[in-house]
């Protein structure tokens, strides 16, 4: 479980996060929704350690992330996988080498064991047989799935996804959403997804927080989103339908 306690983040005088507290539980797809510029990406960057919060705590199963020593921080980071908006696959590596990379860095697996694990991960994301291709040779949706495969190649406990559906067609978006829900349930991971895609919200939103101007404006489940009487959330949902 990931717990956020009174999280603040400012850049000089600009307060981007203004005291966010919530819990992301394992085995559920936790969504962070909100308009662009609302603080979603900053929140996620604080959670994965790319930014340091100005105030507040991020607790990974009892471990206060930003107060850990170097070794402990590295240990937590090795339990984290992330799917980036732009995939962040290594251009000069093949699909197999991309997925194999964390295994090579952090395990003592033999090449045969690594290959077996790569095949298993590719199977999980329904992409068998593309091991030798380079990222430039596969489609956007396939790149996302390779990104997921790389993220889960180590036995991670926390999966973060930044706009996993951006730039994808509706069918591929659906495939990615289903895939994320599937692996979250299967591996009982704590999955946190940044999105402004309402289809994702209604399809896989087990737990949703709505961020508005740096504050947690609303929190609930997908079944409660439509009936929520929060005006900003309503306006966000209505605007999404007209996109």
């Amino acid at each position: 479980m990931i717990e956020l306690l009174d999280l603040h983040k400012s850049f000089d005088d600009l307060a981007v996060l203004k005291g966010i507290s919530t819990q992301f539980k394992p085995g559920r797809t936790n969504l962070i929704i909100g308009a662009s510029g609302g603080g979603k990406s900053v929140l996620m960057k604080c959670m994965v350690g790319l930014l340091t919060p100005t105030q507040g705590q991020i607790i990974y199963d009892g471990r206060d992330f930003h107060k850990l020593g170097n070794k402990e921080t590295r240990d937590v980071r090795r339990e984290i996988g992330m799917l980036f908006q732009g995939n962040a696959l290594f251009d000069s590596y093949t699909v197999e080498e991309n997925i194999e990379f964390p295994l090579k860095m952090f395990t003592d697996m033999t090449p045969a064991e690594r290959r077996e694990r790569v095949d298993f991960c590719l199977e999980q994301v329904h992409l068998e047989g593309i091991n030798a291709k380079f990222p430039a040779e596969i489609s956007g949706g396939m790149k996302k799935r390779v990104g997921i495969a790389r993220a889960i190649s180590l036995d991670i406990k926390y999966l973060f996804c930044d706009e996993p559906n951006s730039g994808l067609d509706p069918v591929t978006s659906r495939v990615i959403d289903e895939l994320l829900q599937e692996i979250t349930e299967e591996f009982q991971m704590t999955t946190v997804i940044n999105t402004h895609d309402m289809k994702t919200v209604f399809d896989i939103g087990d737990h949703i927080i709505f961020i508005y101007e740096g504050n947690k404006w609303w929190e609930g489940k997908k079944s409660e989103v439509r009936t929520a009487d929060n005006p900003e959330l309503k306006s966000f949902i209505n605007a999404s339908y007209f996109e």
Binding site: G49, R74, R77, M82, A88, L89, P102, F106
Partner: protein, 245 residues
């Protein structure tokens, strides 16, 4: 003031780069690959520059030493010494600052703007060490090798130009080069190559790493890497010559 800011962040970049490798075998593999890219990949341009540099220097020295009192082997000795002391290390490294430096800065810059560096950080990898240290080590090992090749080919170019133009025979050139040869000159040349290699690879890695934005900024980082490296090479050239000669 900005220059001090840059220098400070450059030193911090180098300091944060120093850490125990997460997996030595992966770093070793990357260093070997960089040696191939930087060393073998630069061989052709180094060879072309060295041959023409030696040939042109021979012709110009002969043009300036018109006195019948100056023996022909003197031309060989001047060409060979100036190749070793200045032309091969400095000119070659200035060209390599363009080729290798811009490549390093744009590669790391692209990794930065496409979130590949963030991906490394999230995995718990020291991204500075991972992207920069193999390049710096490869540069420090390969540049002196390239400079030795450059010195040799520069003399070959000189011999060829002297012979083709009828100014001096290959034997006269070699006699002059051998008579004036000092082992310290070669050591000085290799010290220069070592220093320039560190400047080019580390400055370019630094500029690549601090790229923020998109394709335009990658281009700008690449240009800055070349300009800063070239200026620092010239500055350290003066400093090393003053200190060691």
């Amino acid at each position: 003031m900005q220059i001090f800011n840059h220098f400070g962040t450059y030193l911090l970049f180098l300091r944060r780069m120093i850490s125990r490798p997460e997996k030595l075998s992966v770093y070793w593999e990357r260093t070997m690959l960089e040696m191939k890219n930087i060393g073998v990949g630069s061989l052709a341009i180094v060879a072309i520059i060295a041959i023409f540099q030696g040939a042109v220097t021979t012709l110009q020295i002969a043009y300036q030493l018109v006195s019948p009192l100056v023996a022909n082997p003197v031309i060989g000795s001047i060409v060979s010494d100036s190749s070793m002391l200045e032309l091969a290390p400095t000119i070659t490294c200035l060209v390599l600052a363009g080729k290798v430096g811009s490549h390093i800065a744009s590669e790391i810059g692209t990794m930065k703007v496409s979130e590949q560096i963030d991906a490394l950080e999230i995995m718990g990898i020291n991204s500075r060490a991972f992207v920069a240290s193999p390049k710096i080590i490869a540069g420090i090992v390969m540049f002196p090798c390239l400079i030795i090749i450059s010195i040799f080919l520069s003399n070959v170019g000189g011999i060829f130009a002297g012979y083709a133009s009828g100014i001096l025979t290959p034997d006269e050139f070699i006699q002059g080069a051998r008579e004036s040869f000092l082992p310290f000159n070669l050591a000085f040349s290799l010290i220069k190559a070592f220093v320039y290699a560190f400047i080019i690879t580390s400055v370019s890695s630094y500029h690549g790493y601090k790229t923020e934005g998109g394709a335009l900024e990658v281009g700008s980082s690449s240009t800055k890497a070349v300009v800063y490296s070239a200026v620092l090479i010239l500055f350290s050239d003066y400093l090393l010559t003053q200190l060691l000669l």
